[in-house]
Symmetry: C2
Subunit: 362 residues, 2 copies
Amino acid sequence: MDTPGATPNRVHLEHLRDYNESLVVALARTRAEFDRAGVAEATGLTPQAVSKVLGRLTEQGLVEVCGVRRQGVGKPASIYRLVPGSRHAVGVHVARTTLRTVLTDLAGTVLASRVVPLPPDFTPGQLLDALRSSMPPGQDLVGVGIGMVGPLDHAAGIVRGAHRLRHWHDVPLRRLAQEALALPVHLDKDVTAGVTAEAWRRGPAFRDGALIMVESGVGAGLWLGGAAYRGAHTNAGEFGHTVVQLDGPRCVCGRSGCLEVLHDTAFADGRVDDAARVLAAGIVNLLQTTDVDHIVLAGADLLRFPEVYRAATRAAIPVSHWMDVSVTLADLGADVIAAGAAMQVLDAAYGIPSKMGVRSLF
Amino acid sequence: MDTPGATPNRVHLEHLRDYNESLVVALARTRAEFDRAGVAEATGLTPQAVSKVLGRLTEQGLVEVCGVRRQGVGKPASIYRLVPGSRHAVGVHVARTTLRTVLTDLAGTVLASRVVPLPPDFTPGQLLDALRSSMPPGQDLVGVGIGMVGPLDHAAGIVRGAHRLRHWHDVPLRRLAQEALALPVHLDKDVTAGVTAEAWRRGPAFRDGALIMVESGVGAGLWLGGAAYRGAHTNAGEFGHTVVQLDGPRCVCGRSGCLEVLHDTAFADGRVDDAARVLAAGIVNLLQTTDVDHIVLAGADLLRFPEVYRAATRAAIPVSHWMDVSVTLADLGADVIAAGAAMQVLDAAYGIPSKMGVRSLF
DNA sequence: GGCAGTTTAGCAACGCTGTTGCGTAATAGA
DNA sequence: TCTATTACGCAACAGCGTTGCTAAACTGCC
């Protein structure tokens, strides 16, 4: 629950504790209210252990008792709930010409949102200035998440070479922002941040999903097996540059017949139906490859014709009795990416840890 | 390390122990020899804790002392190694006309391999008979893994409707085999089992990879983020049925221009170069989507012209300074799938658990 | 050959985790 | 008012990794 920090050892038992606390917080996020017995059954812990965990979480201000009573006979049970306002995170969406900043609480609710313009072809220094002046006067800030176009390296926190931005080659943005803002910083691809927003808000039922983003280009954020999936080089989800027409027109990426080139051409010509059909074919390809059961449609271009795209996608997906796929629209609108970046910070601090205290490791 | 089984509680602390034991076994698998200090550094445990873990593992017969290392001054350190013969697993590959059975040890080495023919259009009962008589007279058997064509449901252990087999609709094969063989059984898609074999043998460096299988059809087994990835309905990796030519010829799956139809047509016509180029285009699509950095080529058809396919794949993958992809051939030959099925059993018993003692959970 | 320094191994006590046992509080129904 | 039932918590406990200390085995030096 807290940063590993200095001491190299004494970690393993603490991680067991943190793991169980995260488990309870994760459960609290999905339920408006909960009691001790319910947590005990869901986590497999004994009721006493849950009492201890809830005691610690109450002390940290993360949960609180909000009432009593429920069933018939016997002493009434205490009802707990998450305290959404106990922690906050900042999410940032760095686009080509604008900087969007969002403040969210622990439940993932967007409390404030603002946009400022960025200088044309801005430099790292200019971005850091804009970041500094956009920060909300927050207390209890867990950290800052930055969502940005790739390619970039999530693990190292380095922007490899943002598309159509000249001054962004191998820039260690995470370190720079961390120093400028004096807060923990996460750096990730915009689409991955976006899908994190959807996953965080929907809870554990959203195990395998993809966020399809159509906004000056076509990309996908992947959430596989209950976690953001980024691939070996933080480059997963570049599905706009998958070929769907081997002898198709040349794409900026060097190949021919990419989904993006076909879609954007049709879209620019006003043939939105055709564009949607091409995208839908690509989405089915994605389903064949990744077998996600949640498709979330997003992006400014797409959301101008939401029902066209949703209908085309639904129509293209084959039906079967054992394979269901939900197709929905992103419900955070233009804030998805910034909000998702914020929720990545929350996820790192209050999500269920995937590996326990083990570093890079062999 | 042992099955959760009966007792519902008292689990959490034991799981911490099992987790660390699994960690050490996983490390032991990647190194021929190791000592206490090395394990301590890799796992973050203290040397004393490693002593306790190694003591328990020695008692279980999984590791043994194999000598001492004298490096300069000081008392020489004990050198340990995994005892490959201490545990065995059986892997089975159910193909349309044959049943391949493989016996492997804890290190993943194939000790024995045999093939028996299956009756044409065989029934579940006939398969179970063949399974029973194919079982090696083993002791120390951890379990049996079955790799089979989909669609099937890995979690439930049910074959949904094996391709081109009439009697295989919603057959609970895992339960049936478990009863027939009196051993734990795992059921998985053939390609997923195959990629498990590669991942198990290569160790943790193989975090994100895909096994491309070309053998009467085109499929892919995915290994993402250090674990087999199956998707929401155990249907991931059906990348033979991704469309690469929107206006292409009709495919058996109902869509048009699937990778498989284009590839198989060219292959059947003897245009192997063309077939390899089509497959390579599909592989690059897969890379754009999943960003794996290991591509393993396999399958009887493909391995008749291994260098043609490897060269075509290498040529198609774009090069960049921060993005490297290795392209190799499956080194287990025809045994890959059966061996991988066996290693899934080993993985379940001696791999690093992903979630600790938490069941299905909310 | 004897002594100091270094590295490894292991026993014993400890802290912290979740677990178990049992006593207490609060409610419904008789 | 009494009893059964349910919820909660203190106290003792078992098991995990950690810390402190001692013994063992080796090298290098005197």
